[in-house]
Symmetry: C2
Subunit: 75 residues, 2 copies
DNA sequence: AAAATATGTAATGTATAATTTACATAAGTA
DNA sequence: TACTTATGTAAATTATACATTACATATTTT
């Protein structure tokens, strides 16, 4: 299932590059790229670290309403 | 890093057993047990499914303030 | 034009989330 | 007493999050 989130939006607002954000939360740039594109399903601990860096909450960055879930069949 | 959350609290409020909640979100009872105990670091998709079942948001169940993080050295 | 920065992505490897099977205990119930 | 229900946990396996290395393109800067 695809995983939209608002990481890219808030990262740019914070004037951070993928590399900087990735480094700050302890993952690689590639991992951050895939998370932004919704192609990885990050763990809650990593989501929390991203929240702390971007000064946002889980709901602000990662909440998806139940009706909006993208299942594999709809890609 | 240990992963406290309020899954157990809200599960009991919802009068669900571990088995029922696990089955409803598509994991095993054992996995749900470990998540409740903070010994697994679930993915955001699984967290969202748990939220939908318990009618709560990510912040209500999984938010942890940055200062409250338990690192492995403090266990 | 050349060099540096920012991002995308593919292939392979490693760490760990989650499964499966199984056994254990406590508490309620027939 | 036996039987069922709810939970904890351990060992072995599988699936997948994430790392590593590498190469690509577009944009900016010198």
């Amino acid at each position: 299932m695809k995983n939209h989130n608002k990481v890219k939006i808030f990262r740019i607002e914070s004037e951070l590059t993928q590399k900087e954000l990735a480094s700050n939360v302890g993952v690689t740039r590639q991992t951050m790229s895939l998370i932004e594109k919704g192609e990885y399903n990050p763990t809650i601990n990593l989501c929390l670290k991203i929240c702390y860096q971007l000064n946002k909450t889980l709901d602000e960055i990662f909440w998806i309403d139940e009706g909006e879930i993208q299942h594999e069949t709809s890609k």
